[in-house]
């Protein structure tokens, strides 16, 4: 939306911050992009609150190993470090992708999406291999309350990453089919918010489960 010059208005009706302050009611309705991002941000926060319940459960149950393997015996901090790097660079690639499509550099956009997908899939593969190794050692989710909490918490994050990867594939297909349309760009913006928010949850996970747990 291109705003008309505000000088046409009677001076008394112009708030001091009218030009930029759509969020405060001045300068007309907020851009759809801002409203959509706000709605999606509310969803992300509700998702984070759901995670907080599982974090609380893990924090309460992390010592209840029922004679089974403990966090210190099970977790490999270096493994978690590689997973963290995958997610961080995936997030970075996602951000650069968002910049590229804004600047109409479609080749760079597809390359960034590919990098985002490959790094995310690598993360997921590492996590699945970790889970498989633990279950093979008899440390599955049914072994102890600690492991039930661990698998639900980390597994739920893994499910989110899986959904994110599927969403990314759909978005790339949509960009290829529809081009740079307004609604496509808004959905892409929501996807990048989702992908970055997963990083925030992973940081909490890494710290509580792996770094503090494996000490």
């Amino acid at each position: 939306m291109t705003r008309a010059p505000l000088t046409d208005l009677p001076m008394t009706e112009i708030p001091a911050n009218a030009v930029t302050a759509t969020g405060r009611g001045g300068g007309g309705p907020a851009p759809v992009r801002i409203v959509v991002a706000y709605g999606f941000w509310i969803f992300l926060l509700s998702d984070i609150i759901m995670f907080s319940a599982l974090f609380a459960a893990y924090a309460v149950l992390s010592g209840e190993t029922a004679g089974g393997p403990t966090a210190r015996e099970l977790f490999d901090v270096r493994h978690a470090g590689i997973e963290t790097l995958c997610l961080l660079f995936s997030s970075y690639a996602c951000g650069i992708g968002a910049l590229s499509i804004e600047r109409r550099r479609m080749g760079a956009f597809y390359a960034c999406c590919a990098a985002t997908f490959i790094l995310g899939a690598t993360f997921l593969a590492l996590e699945v291999s970790e889970f498989a190794g633990m279950i093979a050692r008899g440390a599955g989710p049914s072994r102890s309350a600690f492991l039930s909490a661990f698998f639900s918490l980390v597994g739920l994050h893994g499910v989110h990453v899986t959904i994110g990867l599927l969403w990314l594939v759909f978005m790339v297909a949509q960009v290829a089919a529809q081009g740079r349309k307004e609604f496509v760009l808004r959905r892409l913006h929501c996807f990048s918010l989702f992908w970055h928010a997963l990083d925030i949850i992973w940081i909490a996970l890494l710290t509580l489960v792996y770094l503090i747990g494996a000490r």
Partner: protein
């Protein structure tokens, strides 16, 4: 505002208000700075967790501080949370979300620690029978 004024503010165009506003979401420098900070903080977390530079019982506190700092970096550089006017609602929603998360996590830990402390040991229950 009167109708006549409205007409001068919003010239006739075929889009709904607010559609088509193409605001840039970030910059290459912003994302790169965010990545750099995130890598530094992650590295610091691993260093603190694995070395003995910090007094043992203080390590979880140090890790929590580093994690919260890194979440801040992600919010600002990747999710573009800012103090700008368009972000007021987002920041308020975040504040409310943080309140709920704090209540859920610290409340659970607090209640469960008390329950644990007040629980009759299993051996005492056996003696009662």
């Amino acid at each position: 505002m009167q109708e006549s004024d409205r007409a001068t503010v919003e010239p006739a165009h075929d889009k709904a208000p607010g559609v088509g506003a193409d605001a840039p979401t970030g910059s290459l420098l912003g994302y790169s700075a965010g990545l750099l900070f995130a890598l530094l903080l992650t590295g610091a977390s691993f260093f603190v967790a694995q070395s003995h530079w910090i007094w043992g019982p203080g390590v979880p506190v140090g890790l929590a501080v580093l994690a919260i700092a890194q979440m801040g970096v992600h919010l600002v550089f990747f999710l573009h949370l800012s103090t700008g006017a368009d972000n007021t609602n987002n920041v308020l929603a975040l504040a409310f979300g943080l309140l709920i998360v704090t209540l859920v996590v610290s409340g659970s830990l607090w209640i469960m620690a008390h329950l644990n402390a007040n629980m009759i040991p299993a051996s005492a229950i056996m003696e009662m029978h």
